[in-house]
């Protein structure tokens, strides 16, 4: 675990956010032509509108939601998640914290809030996706610095590491099967070794991201869920302990790199 402390200490690292080189540059031309015109810009706008909208039985906005830096402080908050929250006595990621605020502040039914967190085919976006896009954008350029002071936060990292290497299912896949090696790719997609700082940084900093294949912004929690789907495992529940733990593992591995989300992905 000493590596982890060193990583957190090294806050001043400059990390290239460019795509990994494992695809041999065959997509460079494509990415250059795509430019920086990221449709996530619409979703960011919609996210701020959701934040300010009076919703739920209590008809209040999320403006007093505490994302870790105090009620209503959004700037820089995403970069310090996941973190321990004393009011719930839990380590929470953005999604579980948003659900907490929707339930506690707005008086909404947890089941409703959980019913459809992520877009399905044909959707233009969900409330969670939009909020995540806006909140992450409010951390642009801010160094990733998830909570690691509290014992609960460190335990969450250790759990995340165990989950990262946990092989199961008919294909014997773990996260590490695809994301535990340097310079490897699946088909033509660069994967990155997410156990290492540089690759974890370029991956973590760019989520949430607009996925051009799906036309929506996807969250880091969704990314975890979809990796488990491809591992042939059951469906990961948004904001669950395993989801938070894996995000903590990646965030700590990425610590120090500046956030650059929402990114633009295949």
């Amino acid at each position: 675990m000493t590596t982890r402390k060193v990583l957190i200490a090294a806050l001043a690292v400059v990390v290239p956010i460019a795509s990994a080189v494992a695809d041999g540059g065959v997509f460079d031309e494509y990415r250059e032509m795509m430019g920086d015109d990221n449709p996530a810009i619409f979703v960011i706008e919609e996210g701020e509108e959701f934040w300010l909208q009076e919703l739920g039985p209590k008809q209040v906005s999320l403006e007093t939601c505490d994302l870790g830096l105090g009620p209503g402080v959004v700037a820089g908050a995403y970069a310090q998640l996941p973190r321990y929250f004393a009011d719930t006595d839990q380590v929470m990621d953005l999604e579980s914290r948003l659900v907490h605020c929707m339930v506690e502040l707005q008086g909404r039914d947890p089941e409703d809030v959980h019913a459809k967190p992520y877009s399905l085919r044909g959707d233009m976006g969900t409330e969670i996706e939009a909020l995540a896009a806006w909140i992450a954008d409010q951390s642009s350029g801010v160094p990733i610095a998830p909570g690691q002071d509290q014992p609960q936060e460190r335990a969450m990292y250790d759990l995340g590491e165990q989950l990262f290497y946990y092989r199961a299912g008919p294909h014997d896949f773990s996260c590490a099967t695809c994301h535990g090696q340097d310079g490897a790719r699946i088909r033509l997609q660069a994967l990155g070794n997410l156990a290492k700082h540089e690759d974890a940084a370029s991956a973590y900093a760019s989520w949430p991201a607009y996925r051009i294949s799906e036309g929506v912004v996807r969250t880091m929690g969704w990314r975890m869920r979809d990796c488990f789907r491809q591992q042939r495992l059951p469906e990961l529940i948004m904001g669950s302990e395993a989801s938070v733990a894996l995000q903590m593992y990646l965030a700590v591995n990425a610590a120090g790199a500046p956030m650059s989300a929402p990114g633009l992905k295949r």
Partner: protein
Amino acid sequence: MTIMKIKWAGLLAVTLVPIMAVADQTYDVLSQSMRAKNSVSMDRLTQDSLQAYCSKPRDEANYSTAAAIRESRLAAIAMPADGVFVGDWRQGHDVANNGRGLQYSDDPSQPNGGNCYACHQLDPREVAYGTIGPSLTNYGARGQSDVMLRYTWTKIWDTHAYNVCSHMPRFGAQGILTEQQIKDVMAYLMDPDSPVNRPVEE
């Protein structure tokens, strides 16, 4: 030889105890963090002994027991019932390209894919190949002997019989592919007419 086996088995048991304790905790968290969906049930989270053994950072893995695992897995390989190892390379091409099967988003009535291209280069004309596994382009040139047929079949059936804790799925042992599909993939790899073994024309 028998003494050796007992010794290895003892080591295996000793090594697995602490691993299993951590794995139990990880399993508990996963089972509370997930829900069954469509054809994918929660029992997918339960590890077999091989999965538990291989659930460590690779550079920390203790391979003192690997020889015993290799031997036991080699002994369990089911060679083709009719003794014919090679099927139709055209069908094998489809299996190698198909990445679907056994995900909760997949239609269980459709055949599973082998998704070979996710990790291996095969037909040199296909640009979209992965690099987690070695290139298998021109695999047929490695020979068509009985030894080669059995070796290749074994690698596809249960790769851990040669390479413990390999990343590759156990396509036969875990029932991902049918015997016929494996024969077709064998043909795709070894048939001289298969594009895998045909050089790119200038």
